[in-house]
């Protein structure tokens, strides 16, 4: 069997394609849900981390540190394989979205915090002097400026999240990698894995490029 026959077997690739596409759709769904939930929770946590009373602030710091220190795979395995011993049985979808959102929210919280802290103190003061209550100041004055500043690192986080959804294959969630490994086992041929890798790269390469462009642009802006 030639190398091409082994790794780029056309017949295997053709027959596993529908499965891989289904997997891709699930990967996209999983990423989207985890990213959206993670960003929303992350924003809330970052605001608690910055402005809540001391006890809650410490809890927010603990939350952020915990989920940044724990490997994503460990969080996922704990939720899927350990929680059942407490009588909490979650589906692979729920487990994966929960695990990824928790981790995503911890990273997002730090990015939001940096963005908010980067907004000049004078902006808070001008808003306060105009009589804007603090929540409105955050919403109308501070966050719009902070979000502009954090688009590059946040896009980077999203790329990582998209890649890390492949971990969900360990809890039998039929995402792209899971479909590929199943197909590989079925056809006893690694071509589906190669295809999955190519699909990941095709999806993520433009994103990675975008992150670089955004980073360069914001650096150029900072230098001005």
């Amino acid at each position: 069997m030639s190398l091409v026959q082994t790794f780029f077997n056309a017949e295997v690739m053709r027959s596993c394609l529908p499965g891989l596409l289904r997997g891709l759709v699930n990967t996209l769904l999983l990423s989207l849900m985890s990213i959206v939930a993670g960003i929303i929770v992350g924003l809330a946590v970052s605001i608690l981390r910055l402005y809540a009373p001391k006890l809650i602030r410490l809890l927010a710091i603990a939350y952020i540190d915990l989920f940044r220190a724990m490997p994503m795979l460990v969080v996922l395995i704990l939720i899927y394989y350990a929680l059942p011993f407490l009588g909490i049985r979650l589906s692979s979808w729920t487990s994966a979205v929960l695990a990824f959102s928790l981790v995503m929210s911890a990273y997002s919280a730090e990015v939001f915090r940096a963005g908010i802290e980067g907004v000049a103190a004078g902006q808070f003061e001008a808003a306060a002097a105009l009589g804007l209550p603090f929540p409105l100041t955050l919403r109308l004055v501070v966050l719009p400026q902070a979000i502009r500043a954090i688009i590059p690192p946040m896009t980077g986080n999203c790329v990582s999240m998209f890649k890390d959804t492949s971990l969900a294959s360990t809890v039998a969630l039929p995402e792209l990698l899971n479909e590929a490994t199943n197909a590989q086992a079925l056809y006893a041929n690694p071509s589906p894995l190669i295809m999955a890798a190519i699909v990941y790269v095709l999806f993520l390469w433009p994103m990675v490029r975008l992150v670089s462009v955004l980073e360069n642009r914001s650096q150029a802006k900072g230098a001005r």
Partner: protein, 262 residues
């Protein structure tokens, strides 16, 4: 039935037009161990124009920042238009709605257009309908002679233009009192005049103003009283003619000789 009044607002004092509109009594403030405001007493009458000057670090900016609670004081009493400034958020909000402030570095909102900078607080704080807020904003922009820039962003304007926009932004809230914290200190010399002209116009219209500035010409032209501060204390308060021509304290004389070069 008597209308419900906030318990700490004296109904006889709220919104009154006689007597001091700002009362500062025995005000003390520390930054850590540094005593930045030392037993300050100052009453400001409605319509009065006060210029505060003094060497840097004398506490003059801190003093006016206490008047709208951007800085918290630790001792003493500040009453603005009958409302006592304490820890009650409602009182702070009420005072801030009555008191406009112009900053050294303008602090315009860079992500909003000039028009949006002006209408933000009226729409969200005073609940003015958008169209009406925009009409009022346009009127104030005409008054500070920036009407043609309404749809630009602050970054596209010169420093003097930005500061005039900042003044207009404060005026849109219809404040009874305007605080100016070194409004011309970060401007190019050629644009200082355009900002001072706007401030002189405001003074002519009877606005109560407290201005921290090194522009002694402005003080002479506009101020009812000049307050000289040094090391956190009020050293001398006098009408401009007396202040400049017959200063009483040695520290005042020294300061004036440095700043006026005589």
């Amino acid at each position: 039935m008597t209308p419900a009044l906030p318990p700490d607002v004296d109904p006889g004092n709220a919104g009154r037009t006689t007597g001091p509109i700002i009362q500062i009594e025995n005000l003390n403030k520390w930054f850590g161990k540094l005593h930045v405001l030392n037993n300050i007493n100052l009453d400001v009458a409605q319509g009065e124009r006060i210029v505060i000057c003094g060497p840097s670090g004398s506490g003059k900016s801190t003093l006016i920042r206490c008047i709208n609670s951007l800085e918290k004081h630790q001792q003493g009493r500040i009453t603005v238009d009958g409302v006592r400034l304490d820890d009650k958020l409602r009182n702070i909000d009420q005072v801030r709605r009555e008191v406009g402030m112009v900053f050294q570095h303008f602090n315009l909102f860079p992500h909003l257009t000039i028009l949006q900078n002006l209408t933000l607080a009226p729409i969200w704080v005073r609940k003015v309908p958008k169209k009406q807020a925009e009409e009022e904003a346009t009127r104030y922009l005409e008054r500070v002679k920036i009407a043609e820039q309404t749809h630009k962003y602050p970054g596209q304007l010169s420093g003097g233009q930005q500061q005039r926009v900042a003044i207009a932004r404060s005026l849109c809230m219809n404040p009874k009192i305007m605080l100016f914290d070194e409004p011309t200190s970060s401007l190019d010399p050629e644009t200082i005049r355009e900002v001072l002209d706007v401030m002189v116009g405001l003074a002519r219209d009877g606005m109560t103003m407290i201005v921290v500035t090194h522009e002694m010409g402005f003080a002479r032209e506009v101020a009812d009283r000049v307050v000289f501060m040094d090391a956190g204390e009020i050293v001398e308060i006098a009408a401009p003619a007396t202040f400049f021509d017959h200063p009483q304290a040695d520290r005042t004389r020294q300061f004036l000789s440095q700043i006026l070069g005589r």
